[in-house]
Symmetry: D2
Subunit: 480 residues, 4 copies
C-alpha cells in the first residue's frame, strides 16, 4: 500500500474507515459517473464474467500440474527465501541484498536478469531464456521494507512478494517450455513501493520497461481475502507529492534587512494553504512537513524545504488543488522577496481493475483454500499503487489472507513467518500461476480481458471528461 | 500637521518624542548626507543670513505701516471671523460654510475668487484685482476641522489660518497698490489638510494652481514659537497612503468552495506584511486597518478593503517598503484566488525649508511679541505638509505660539478664542505681512531666497542620488 | 429558513444540494444512530401512522365546517392582509406595523393580546378570550422581511404566515366555543426569524412563553408541497453564532509599541482557525467576517469585532468545534497582549419532527389541493428553525407549495400576490385548522402524538449520548 | 565573540556597523541613564585613572622580569602549542584534545588540574600548587573552534587563548613563589564560548567555580588594539536563547482530525511573533529557526522544535520581549490543541568593565608594541561574553591586534600562524601578566579596582531600576 507513513508503524494510524465499493466518493463524482457506470454495467454484463470464471476454474489437469509445481517451489525453497528476506529488511531503493537473492534464484532458473532498469539501481527485469512469442505474461515483485521507530521491518510483507511471484513465474515458464505452448514470462523487480519520490513503477513504465506485457499479476498482503470491483479507482485518494524549496539571502540577525528570509517563506506556504482550505472542496487532504527550517537562530535562513502530499478523490479536481498549493508557494516567495522551486515529484492516481482477472483470481483463491473471505467486491483499483501501469496494461493484484493483523504493523511482519502467512503466500502464488496459465492457454479468455480493459479505459476517459466539465472555477470580477 | 489620527483626539496619542534638528534619522541617511551637509553649510555661510535678517528687520516706516494695518484688520474683523469659523467646525472637503465666509471677505476686499480649483469643491484661488506684475506673493489658507469622538472641532486651529492669511494678503496688496510697487498677491484656499486622500495641495499643484508664485507663506498653530533649520525633511517620516481592495466570489458558507474569499485575502495582506517586518529596516512604520471585512458570516466575503500608512525617514527606501507592501497584497490575491486593486492615494514627503525665510520670520515673530520662544532651530521641513509645493517654490510656515496645549487637542481648540490664541494669530499675520513686504521691496532679498532655494534643491537631488546607491536589494539565488 | 445571508438575496447562493432524508450526515453519526434508528423504526411501526391518518382524514362534517370557515376568512379578509404586509416589508425586530395589523385583527376576533413578550418589542402572545381548558393549541406567526440590495422584501413569504395562522386559530377557536369542546387557542407572534442574534423563539421559550402548549403548528413558504420524516435534524447543520470583540490600547503609528493592536488580534483569530481546519472533521463549516477593523491607519486599532457562524451536522461535535474557535480567540488575545470577549449569541440546533403530525398534515394538504407534491418524506427537522421549541413541544410546519421560485428570491416575493401564492397559503391555513381540530377532538390522536414525541425525545437523548462517546479528543503528551 | 553564526563563516555576515562608545542605544535608555552617567563620571574622576596608570606603567624591574619570562614561555613553547591547537580545531564542548594539551602543560608547571567542573566535561580549573593566600588572580582560557562550511576552524583564534593565558599565569605564579609575595593564581578552562546552550561561563559561575577570584583576565583576538570604556554594556545586545518544543498527536493524513498538529503550532509561534513585531520597540531582534518540522507528509506531525535568539539593548525591556515570545508559543499551543515546553537555555547580558583595568591594559599593550591602536575607548562591556561573571568579579579582556582580518573569518584563522598573530598574542600574554603583577604587588591598585567595581555595580542597579520605571506596559481595558 502506497503513501503510508514511513516512520511510525502504529497500527492505529492505518485503520482507515472501510470504503464503499464505488470509487466515486463525492456527489460531483457520482453525478459525473452516472452515465459511465450504466455503460460499465452493460459492458460487464456483456462479458458474462461468472460464466467465464466457472468455465476456467473447472477441472483442468494441465493447470493443476502447474499449481502443484508452484506449491512445491514455495514449500521447498521460496518460503525459506521469503523468511530470509523478511528477517533482513531493507528500506526502499536500498534493497541490494534482497535483489541479489531474488535475481540469483531467477538466474538459477533460466532467467536472464538485467539489474538497474529505469535508472533505479534496485529495479530489474528477468526474462525467461526460452520465451516463445506472445502472449507476454508479466509478474511484478516487490521487496522494500517499512521504516519503523525500531528500524526497518517487513510490516507490509513485501518480503514475500518476490518469492511468491517467482514461484508462479517459474512454474508457468516451465510449463510453456515443456508443452511448447506459445508465450513468454517476464518478471519485474520494482523497488520502493512505499517510497515517493520516485514512483518506481511509473519511472520504469516511462522507461518502457513494461512495454509489450499482455497481462501483469502481483500479490500483496492483507488480513482478509478480497478482490476489487471492476472500474477505476484507488485505495486512498489520488495523490501528488510536491516539494517546495525556497532560497533567500543570509544576513546576521542584527541586520536582518540585508537578507531575505526563506523560513518566513516556507511558513507562509503553510499559512497560504490554510487560508484556502475552506475554498477547496472538503474531501481534499493537504498536508506537509518542513524538511529544512534554517540552521542558526542568529542568521537569516536562506534555504528551506517543505514536502507535501496533496490528495483528492479524483485527479481532475486534484489539479485545481495542486494549483492552489503551487500558488501558495509562489505567493509566499512573492511576499517575502525569496524564490521558490516547485517539484511535483510523484503521483499516485486511479488505476483500472478488470473483473475478468479479479473474479478469476478470487475464485482460485477460494479454491486453493484462502481464509477470511470477503464476498462483496471492494472498491475498484489498479493492481499497482501508482495507477500508471494498470491504465495501460490489464492485470490483477492477488490478495489472499496472509495475516490476522492490519497492514503496516509489527504483527503483520511476524506473520511473514507463521503458518497463516505461509498459507496465504502460497495461495497467492498458486492463484497467480493459475491466472497466467489460463491467459496463455485460453484465447477466448485473452479476448475477454482485452475487451473489458479497452472498454473500461474508454469509459475512464469519458468519466474524466465529464469531471472536467463539473469543476468550474469561480469567476472573480476585477475589484472596483 | 498631517497624517494625524482623524477620529480620536486624545492628546496622549500625539505627544511624539522631540526630534533632533537633523533630518537624517538613520545611519545610512547620515552617511549619504555627509557631503551634502558640508555643501549646505557652505551655501548657508555664503548667504550671511544673520546679516540679511538684521538689515531687513531694522527700522522701516513703510513696513511698519503695513504691519499696523495687518494688526488692525485682525482686531477689527478677522479675529471675529476666526472665532466664527472656530465655532462652526467643518471637516476636510466639507468646508462649504468656511469657504463662503472667507471668499466673501476676500471679494469685499477686491479679490477675484475662483472656487473649486484643482477639482476640489472647497479649494479656491483669490487674486487681487489690482495686481501689478511680479514678484508673485502667495498666501496659503487652511480651514478644515478635526474629527473627534464628540464631533468636528478645531483642535489644530486651522479655523484661524484663513483670517490670518487674509490679513497679511490684504494689508500687503493695499500697500503695493497704494505705492504702485510692482508685485501681485494671490491667496490659495487649500482644504482637507488633515485628510489623505486626496492630498489637496499636491492635487492643486499638479493642476498648476501654484504656478508662478515666487514665495508662499502660511501659518500654523503651535504651543512654542519656533522655526525650522534650512534643508529638507518632514515632521513625521515620508508617507505613502495606500488602499488595497480585494474582490472574490460570493458563495454560501455551506458550499464555500464555490466562492473565493476576499476576507482571507485581506487578512493575508496583513500576515504577509508581518512576515517581512524583520526584513525591512526598523525605522519603517507600516500600519493598516480593515475598512470592509465582509457583510454576513454565512456568505463568503467577496469584497474587502484595507487602508495603510507606509512610512520611512526618506522617500528612497520608502519605495522599497511600499514595494514590499504591494507585493504582500499581490501575494495575498495570488494565494487566495482573488484579485486586488492597489491605490497609492497620497504622499507626504520631505519638503525644503530656507533659512532666508525662516530666520527672517523668526526675527519678526520675536519683534512682534511672540511668546515661549525656542531659540534652537527645529528640524528642516517644508512650509506645507505634502512636501510637493515646497520642493518647487520657496516659502515659510509661520508658527508663533497660539496655545499652551499640544496640537490636536480640545484645549488648543479652546485657545482659538482666548488672548493667547488671538495674540499668536496676530503675530502670525504680522510676520507673514512683513516677509511679503520685504520680498516685494528688497530685490537683494529675493535674490538671496532664490539662491538658497536653488542651492538646496540641487543638494536635495544629490542627497537622494546618494541614498539610491546606499539601498541595495539583497541578491537571492535560484533555489537548488 | 434561518441562517441564510441577510444582505445578498441572490438566488444562486441558496440553492444548496438536496439533502437525503436521513439526518445523519457523517459515518460517525450513522454509526452512533444505528441502534437508535432501529428503535425509531419500531416506535413508528407501533403507532400505525398510515392507519391513524386514514381514519382522521376520512369524512367528518364538523371538521369540514371548520375548514370552510378557514377558507372564508382567508378569502374575505386575510389574503388581503397578507398582501398588505407583503407590500409593506419590515426587517426583523422592526416589524411594528405588521404586528399592529395582526394584533388589531386578533383583538377584533376576541383575542387578548400581549405585545413585547420575552423582552422582544415585536413579539406577542394572543390568547382567545373564551378558551376552555386543555388541550392547548398553539399557532406560531412570523412576519419579518429579508434585507435585499434593493431594500427589505418578503422573498421568504413570512408576510403571509401571520394571516395564515390567524385564519386557522380563529376558525378553530370559534368552533371550540360554539361546540363547547374543551380546548384553548394561543397565537404566538415571533419576530426576526431570519435574524440571529437573538434567536427570538429560543429567547421566548426561555421566558416560558410557549409553556403549556400541547401542540404547535406553523406554516412556511416552499416551492414544493412536502413534509419531513419523523426524527431529529435540521435543514442546514447545527449552528452556533459567535461574536469575538477584542480590545487593545491605542497609540500613534510612530510609537506603536505604546499600544496593543486589536486588529492583529482579530486577524490571528482567523489565522488560528485556519490552522486547525485540518484538525477538525471536514463536515464542519466555520466562517466569519470582520465587523470592525480599526478606524484610522495611523492609530493602533484598539477595538475590533468578528462575527462567526460555526456549523456541524450534530451539536455534540459542534461543541468541540466551538471550543476550537473560542481557543483561537483566546490564543489571539494572548499572543497580541489584547483582551477578548466571547459571546455565543445564538444557536440553531436539531429539532424533533413527528410523523403523527407531519403525515396528517401531508394528507390534508393533498386533500385540499396542494400542488407539486413530493411523495418521499424529507429530512427530519423541527417545526421551527432554532430547534429549541420543537424539542419540548410536538408540532408541525405546514408547507404547501406557494411559489414556483426558490426561497429568498424576488420571484417568491412576487408570488405572495399571485394565485399560486394565494392557493398555497389557503391550503396551509386549512391544513393547520384540520390538524388542530383533530388534536382537540380525537383523544386517541393526542395520545399517539404524545407517545411519538416522548419516544423520539428519549431516542434523541440516547443518540446524543452515543455521539458523545464517539468523539474522543486526541491525547497530547507533554513535550520532552 | 558570542552569539555569532555557527555555520556560515562569511565575513560579510559579521561586519556589523561600528557602535558608539555609549552602551545606551535607545532614547529610553539614555534618559534612564542620564543621572547614572553623571555619577559614573564623578566616580571615574575620583579615581584618577590616568595618574594611576602612569604610576603603574612606570619603570619596575620586578615586573619587567615577569614580562620577559612571559615572552620567553610564549616563544619557546606556548606559541607552538597555540599553533598546534590552531591546526587541530575542535568545536564547543568537544575540545577534548585541546584540553588535554593545555592541562598537560599546566600539570608540568605545577598546577593541580580538575577537569569536568561545573558539569561540563571540557571545563577545568587549574590551581597553582604553591598558591599563597590572597589576592586571588584568575586567568580565563578558551579553546573552542568555529563551525564552518568546510569543517571546524579557529577563525576567532580561541586556539591561542589557552597558551596566552597560561604564559601569564605561569610567569606570575613563579614570581609570587619566588618572591614569597602573597597571592594565588587560578586558571579557568572555559569551553564552548561560541555555543549557547549552555552558557559555559554562567553555568560554571553558578557552580561557584569562579568564587573567590579578586580579578580575572582573559584575551581575545581582534584586528585593532582597543579597550572598552568603563561602565556596563555588551557588544551585540542582551540575548536570551530560547527553545520551544511542541507535542501534538499523530494521525494519518486521511483522518487528520484524530491528531493534533505540532507543525501548525510551531508555524503559529512564528506568526504570533510577527504579529507583535510592531508592538515591540524596534531595537528588538527576534529570530528563530525550525529544528524539527515533522517527519512524513502523510502523518500529522506530533513533535516540532524551534530555536530563537531574542535580543534587546537592555535586559529590562528584553524581559518584556521574551514574554511576548513565550506568549506567542503558549498561544500557538492553545490554538492548535498541542502542548509546548519553553526552555530559556541561555543568556548573554550586559557585563561591567573597569577603567582601572582596561586603561592599565591599554597602556601596557602600547608599551609592549601592540599595533593598529584605536585611541578612543570602545563601548563598555564585560571581559566575558555572558555578562554573568563580570558583574560579580572585576576583570579585563585584553585585545591587542593579532590579525588584519575581521573576527570569524578564515583569514583570521590563518593569522594564528603568522608573525602578526604571534606578535599580538605575545603582547596579550605580557599585558595580562603585567596587570596581575600590579594587582598582586600594589595594594592601592587593588583598592582602586575594588572601589570602581563596587561603584559601577551600584550604578548598574540604579540604572536598571530606572529602566524598570521607564517601560510601562500599556493598559488594555476589558472589551465591551
Amino acid at each position: 500500500m502506497p503513501a503510508m507513513p514511513r516512520l511510525i508503524p502504529l497500527a492505529a494510524l492505518f485503520l482507515l474507515a472501510p470504503l464503499a465499493a464505488a470509487a466515486q466518493e463525492t456527489p460531483t463524482e457520482r453525478e459525473a459517473a452516472r452515465d459511465v457506470l450504466k455503460k460499465m454495467d452493460a459492458l460487464e454484463k456483456s462479458l458474462d464474467v461468472p460464466g467465464l470464471v466457472a468455465k476456467l476454474t473447472g477441472p483442468n489437469e494441465a493447470r493443476d500440474r502447474v499449481i502443484t509445481r508452484t506449491e512445491e517451489l514455495m514449500k521447498t525453497e521460496l518460503l525459506a527465501l521469503s523468511d530470509d528476506i523478511s528477517t533482513h529488511p531493507e528500506v526502499g531503493f536500498e534493497e541490494a541484498r534482497s535483489v541479489q537473492k531474488l535475481t540469483d534464484y531467477l538466474k538459477q532458473h533460466d532467467f536472464d536478469v538485467q539489474v538497474g532498469v529505469g535508472g533505479l539501481p534496485t529495479a530489474f527485469v528477468a526474462t525467461y531464456k526460452r520465451n516463445n512469442g506472445s502472449p507476454n505474461l508479466g509478474v511484478i515483485l516487490e521487496y522494500d521494507a517499512l521504516r519503523g521507530t525500531k528500524g526497518a521491518f517487513h510490516g507490509d510483507q513485501h518480503s514475500a512478494q518476490g518469492p511468491v511471484g517467482i514461484a508462479a513465474a517459474v512454474a508457468v515458464a516451465e510449463y510453456l517450455t515443456l508443452t511448447r505452448t506459445p508465450g513468454s514470462v517476464i518478471v519485474y523487480g520494482t523497488p520502493g513501493e512505499e517510497m515517493m519520490p520516485p514512483n518506481a513503477k511509473t519511472q520504469m513504465h516511462l522507461a518502457h520497461v513494461f512495454d509489450g506485457a499482455d497481462i501483469i499479476v502481483r500479490s500483496h498482503a492483507v488480513n482478509a481475502t478480497s478482490r476489487p470491483a471492476p472500474g477505476f479507482g484507488t485505495c486512498c485518494l489520488n495523490i501528488v507529492g510536491a516539494k517546495y524549496t525556497f532560497s533567500g539571502a543570509p544576513a546576521h540577525q542584527m541586520t536582518a534587512w540585508n537578507g531575505r528570509n526563506a523560513l518566513e517563506a516556507v511558513i507562509h506556504l503553510f499559512n497560504n494553504i490554510d487560508a484556502v482550505r475552506a475554498s477547496i472542496r472538503p474531501e481534499a487532504r493537504i498536508q506537509g512537513i518542513i524538511l529544512e527550517g534554517g540552521v542558526a537562530p542568529n542568521v537569516v535562513p536562506d534555504r528551506t524545504v517543505a514536502d507535501f502530499y496533496i490528495r483528492y478523490p479524483d485527479e481532475v479536481y486534484l489539479q485545481q488543488v495542486v494549483e492552489f498549493v503551487d500558488n501558495a508557494a509562489r505567493a509566499a516567495a512573492l511576499a517575502t522577496g525569496t524564490k521558490v522551486k516547485i517539484d511535483h515529484y510523484g503521483k499516485d492516481l486511479d488505476g483500472i481493475s478488470e473483473a475478468t482477472i479479479a473474479e478469476l483470481g478470487f475464485a482460485y483463491m477460494k479454491k486453493f483454500g484462502a481464509t477470511n473471505v470477503v464476498e462483496t467486491p471492494g472498491k475498484p483499483q489498479g493492481f499497482e499503487e501508482t495507477g500508471s501501469v494498470s491504465r495501460d496494461i490489464p492485470g490483477g493484484s492477488i490478495t489472499a489472507q496472509s495475516s490476522t493483523a492490519p497492514n503496516h504493523t509489527y504483527e503483520m511482519d511476524a506473520d511473514n513467518l507463521t503458518p497463516i502467512g505461509h498459507k496465504g503466500l502460497t495461495v497467492d502464488a498458486q492463484t497467480m500461476a493459475a491466472i497466467l496459465f489460463d491467459f496463455a492457454t485460453h484465447p477466448e479468455y485473452r479476448t475477454a480481458v482485452k475487451k473489458e480493459f479497452d472498454g473500461l479505459k474508454a469509459l475512464f476517459a469519458e468519466y474524466q471528461a465529464a469531471l472536467k466539465k463539473a469543476y468550474d472555477v469561480p469567476k472573480v470580477p476585477d475589484p472596483k
